[in-house]
């Protein structure tokens, strides 16, 4: 873990009215990042807002790293106004990473909306660093509606098996991405060795975790949640240990957990 006071915006894209893509220069950070790592970014210079915001690393090469985020509140709104060459104070890379798929396993990525960045990074990581065959990945992305499709721009370029669901059926599978997964499972995946990787809204990951447990399929969840410190000392990011009266720290023991370790 490192403390990096200055990263510089080198690219900015607006994918949707509320979805932004930023690329930063910051070698010491970018060179160490692995999938599911996140940064704690200070979005403004002053005390408003007072906390840093946790953001997954969407991709990192040796020199630059990227994030994709939705504007949901004040912090992400301020971040969306970042300008080229603007410097940000960023701590990271923080957190653990996904377990690699074992031999012969298909890697099934189940992303809920803007939960895709860690899974995008992981997919590229598997392909680029581990020569993992593209066709052994299945990427499922759930969206609300068809107009959110630009969210998948980077994913489409990866040229891996990719399917979509929309809540309103306006594009791809009609239903939740967990339903899409179940459909695939019923049809084909249940005959294979698979490993699920997921990131998305809590409710979606809770559901997916239940499904995975009931099917006895290994499943890793990359959790989100408020993170005052991000470095393990405030105990604010607690997630319940399954079956024990105790908590993990998402920022320190996570953000990735096996579905059977946690109660969402």
């Amino acid at each position: 873990m490192i403390f990096n006071p200055g990263v510089r915006v080198v690219e900015k894209k607006q994918l949707l009215p509320d979805l932004f893509h930023l690329k930063f220069e910051g070698e010491s950070l970018a060179s160490r990042a692995v999938p599911a790592n996140f940064v704690q970014i200070k979005v403004s210079k002053g005390l408003d807002p007072i906390f840093r915001r946790p953001m997954s690393i969407h991709y990192a090469d040796g020199k630059t790293f990227e994030m994709v985020f939705r504007t949901v509140g004040r912090g992400t709104h301020i971040l969306s106004q970042a300008e080229i060459d603007q410097e940000f104070d960023c701590i990271g890379p923080l957190g653990n990473s996904f377990k690699l798929p074992e031999d012969g396993e298909r890697a099934v990525m189940v992303a809920g909306g803007v939960g895709f960045p860690p899974l995008y990074f992981f997919s590229r990581f598997l392909v680029e660093k581990h020569n993992f065959p593209k066709e052994n990945i299945l990427f499922l992305l759930g969206m609300k509606t068809v107009s959110e499709k630009p969210m998948a721009d980077d994913l489409l370029k990866l040229d891996i098996p990719l399917e979509f669901s929309t809540d309103d059926g306006s594009f791809g599978f009609h239903g939740f991405v967990t339903d899409l997964f179940e459909a695939h499972y019923a049809k084909k995946l249940r005959h294979e060795k698979i490993r699920i990787y997921s990131c998305g809204p809590n409710a979606m990951m809770r559901r997916l975790g239940q499904i995975a447990l009931s099917f006895k399929v290994p499943c890793q969840l990359s959790l989100e949640g408020a993170m005052p410190c991000g470095v393990g000392t405030c105990l604010g990011c607690a997630v319940k240990m399954r079956g024990r009266n105790d908590y993990y720290r998402v920022c320190q023991e996570g953000p990735v957990f096996d579905a059977e370790e946690v109660e969402l």
Partner: protein
């Protein structure tokens, strides 16, 4: 001019500089050891330790507020046995002062933990967190009852091998009274303030934001309250004080020392800027140079500059 002296001695213990970390904001030092050079700090105060391990409250446990935060962690900690076994060995390797914060829900619990720590080396002082919700015979907690604060201090002073810091709560009518009770009970030092009781509400769901409903407010928002409380207590007791509350940088350190603190603790600031303590230590050197002060202890209680201002009658008028 030679480099100014930043070291401070209280209770016979010399601290490299007045900068400590506040309980509950720095874990047991392990995480920050990878981020900053802990030997640059005056000392570390551990998360509150209790007799038994505690998982803490169900989340959400924290909430961001205007220039501050609420927390209701629920005294989550590994318990004194595991603390001694797993955390003390690491703490011993550090080149800084170690203050262990102790919490409890009865005098017996506090006593148990302090006695266990008596058997342990590598500790410089104990800080007693008296703000836990133990409702005694008079319906008040240790931190808000003169009688109970004094009982607890007396009981612990009798047995403690280490100098005792009593950590005061601001949620009282007269913090000076509680401070005097602790002093009379034998406290070697007082630290203040713990957090202010506060709460947050979600206006869409109508639910309290914290599962525990109320929590403790900390951060820059409370600095003015903390300064006033330290000054009130400075005018009420003779033992040294540790100032806490919204401290972010070296100027804040100076302000707390001017109103009477000998040492200070950084809490919430560690979450915002993990290197705040180290930067503040550097900043203090510059500050002393700029003010022409050669020994930082000259700041302590110097409110009013050359015209020291003695305690006016408290509780103070807000004067609206």
């Amino acid at each position: 001019m030679s480099i100014a002296n930043l070291s401070i001695e209280i209770c016979g213990i010399r601290f490299r500089n007045p900068i400590l970390t506040a309980s509950g904001t720095f874990g047991y030092g392990e995480e920050f050891n990878q981020i900053i050079d802990l030997s640059k700090l005056g000392g570390i105060v551990t998360k509150s330790i209790t007799k038994h391990p505690r998982p803490g409250h169900p989340p959400p446990r924290t909430h961001e507020t205007a220039a501050g935060m609420l927390n209701a962690i629920g005294l989550a900690n590994v318990g004194v046995d595991k603390f001694i076994e797993e955390k003390i060995p690491f703490l011993k390797t550090l080149d800084t002062r170690i203050i262990v914060n102790v919490a409890g829900f009865s005098i017996e619990e506090y006593t148990y933990t302090v006695e266990r720590l008596n058997d342990t080396d590598g500790i410089d002082m104990l800080e007693i967190n008296i703000s836990c919700p133990n409702v005694g015979a008079d319906g008040l907690e240790f931190s808000s009852s003169v009688r109970r604060a004094s009982e607890l201090t007396t009981a612990l002073k009798k047995i403690s091998r280490y100098p005792l810091i009593i950590k005061l709560s601001p949620n009282v009518t007269s913090i000076a009274e509680i401070a005097r009770a602790a002093e009379e009970g034998g406290a070697d030092c007082l630290s203040l303030i713990n957090t202010l009781v506060g709460m947050g509400v979600n206006h869409w769901t109508f639910k309290p934001i914290l599962t525990n409903i109320t929590g403790g407010l900390s951060g820059p928002a409370i600095k003015p309250v903390a300064l006033a409380k330290v000054w009130q207590v400075y005018n009420a007791v003779k033992i040294p004080l540790i100032g806490i509350g919204g401290i972010m940088n070296h100027f804040d350190v100076a302000e707390f020392m001017i109103v009477g603190a000998s040492l200070v603790q950084f809490g919430t600031a560690n979450f915002i800027n993990p290197d705040c303590t180290v930067k503040a230590a550097e900043g203090l050197t510059d500050y002393l140079k700029q003010t022409g002060i050669s020994d930082i202890s000259e700041l302590i209680g110097k409110l009013g500059g050359n015209h020291e201002i003695q305690g006016k009658n408290f509780p103070a008028c807000q004067g609206t």
